[in-house]
């Protein structure tokens, strides 16, 4: 069985697939790739099932030595790719010979890069997923130098379209917002201003949530909400009024009112928005 040996883990590199399902009632977050279309594209490029586990990098890339010949593809945040010290393609299948090092450099744009390997990263699944969950501590820990990642048996390779559409990281992050379930905790005026005012991505964002900074969203009522179930994309308004968009490692329950929910289709861009990126919420009414 082939392996990938971690030479340089980068600032934060984790194993991710499409996450855990059906266990939220036990308090288990979903986890999974933040930019799911990018992971799916990387898997498609190497002939994997879309949900095979790959690596999610954060800003700084990763370097891995192949034990056995492997086929990889890098997508997500654009970054220089080198194999054995020579420039290689980003967003395309790349062969890494036995003993060679594949290096993903610092992202030139965006935040999260995805490296898929034919056969998938074959760490043991936990509750149906190989994803690292940084909130609950499930799945493999973030990579450290010297880690050895088993690679699964590559599927029979079939030629695939070379061009996988990969959207560029956003210059402005536009997040549609389906109002509710707790929009009534805020005055119509505060909700209207949330759609009008400018916000920026905070540097305190992580896999749990995209934190934003801007004019505080004022509550129309006092009191506390008993903790309730939270969905992916929920926009919580904590007491400081700064909206937090829940990403894959979000807690299963929370006690701050959710003014609206960002559709999953908009969250890939949220995963790639760097701190300081302008954010515009676009409230949608009705269903």
């Amino acid at each position: 069985m082939s392996e990938l040996v971690v030479v340089r883990p980068g600032p934060l590199t984790t194993v991710q697939d499409l996450g855990r399902y059906g266990v939220a009632h036990l308090g288990v977050p979903r986890a999974g790739a933040l930019d799911e279309p990018a992971l799916r594209a990387a898997n498609r490029l190497v002939g994997n099932e879309p949900g095979a586990a790959g690596l999610e990098t954060t800003l700084g890339g990763v370097a891995l030595r192949a034990v056995g010949r492997v086929l990889v593809a890098v997508t997500g945040a654009p970054a220089p790719v080198r194999v054995g010290g020579r420039a290689a393609a980003w967003g395309a299948p790349v062969v890494v010979p036995d003993g060679a090092v594949v290096e993903v450099g610092a992202a030139t744009d965006g935040v999260r890069g995805y490296l898929a390997v034919a056969g998938g990263v074959a760490v043991p699944p936990v509750l149906g997923s190989r994803s690292a969950d940084l909130l609950a501590g499930l799945g493999p820990a973030p990579l450290t130098a010297g880690d050895r990642l088993p690679v699964g048996t590559p599927p029979p390779y079939r030629a695939r379209p070379e061009l996988v559409p990969l959207p560029a990281p956003p210059a402005e992050l536009v997040l549609r917002l389906r109002l509710g379930p707790r929009a009534d905790w805020f005055s119509p005026d505060a909700v209207a201003r949330l759609g009008r005012d400018g916000y920026r991505v905070s540097s305190t964002s992580n896999r749990v949530g995209l934190r934003t900074e801007g004019p505080p969203v004022a509550r129309a009522r006092g009191g506390e909400l008993p903790s309730e179930g939270m969905v992916l994309g929920a926009v919580q308004i904590p007491p400081d009024g700064q909206p937090v968009v829940f990403l894959a490692d979000h807690p299963t329950t929370g006690g701050y009112p959710v003014v609206g929910v960002v559709p999953a289709a908009d969250l890939a861009a949220a995963a790639q928005a760097r701190p300081g990126t302008p954010v515009r919420f676009v409230p949608l009414r009705g269903h």
Partner: protein, 224 residues
Amino acid sequence: MTAGAGAAGAVPPVGAIPAGAVRRAGDRALLVELPGTAEVAALYGWLREQREAGALGEVGELVPAARTVLLDGVADVDAVARLLRTARPTAAEAARGPLLEVPTVYDGADLAEVAALWGVSEEAAVRIHTGPEYTVAFCGFAPGFGYLTGLPARYEVPRRATPRSSVPAGSVALAGPYTGVYPHPSPGGWQLVGRTALPLWDTDRDPPALLAPGARVRFTAARA
């Protein structure tokens, strides 16, 4: 079991769900707001039966909480919202799951304080805590951390003013109306009354959480 009235005979319905109680949470989820824990337990039990019977279509998650049930990953939210308007869950549907005994050594660091809050001796506090049958109302905070109800309201205790930076796994603790058992070592602000050696969380077990929603629990005093 169907949604029809009278399906459970002698057990009265916990109540119909008012239309305004079903809220949208994005495109694929519904949040049902209920008066309290008993109604949550009844609806959660009813929804699990409906899901098993295939009446809900595709539903990814059913997440009970203190006063809500979240249905997430719902393929047809309109159809499920309509079905919820006909729901007449009963308390009988809530009473499910085997009775689990949790042998507990009552030597927690906050047992004396809890006893003082209740105005009784430590021995009496243990008798109070081992008295009722509890139900896991919901999970949260950490995987497998169940919020157990069953202690009478007069025994509610506040959280500690200063949370501990580390609480050992197996700690039996109280906060507000709830009893919880820490499945993993973690920071925590609940009042520690005892500890159990029972393995509460095991990802190789199905289900991984011993204290899953709906489970019934009795604490028994064990020797150290």
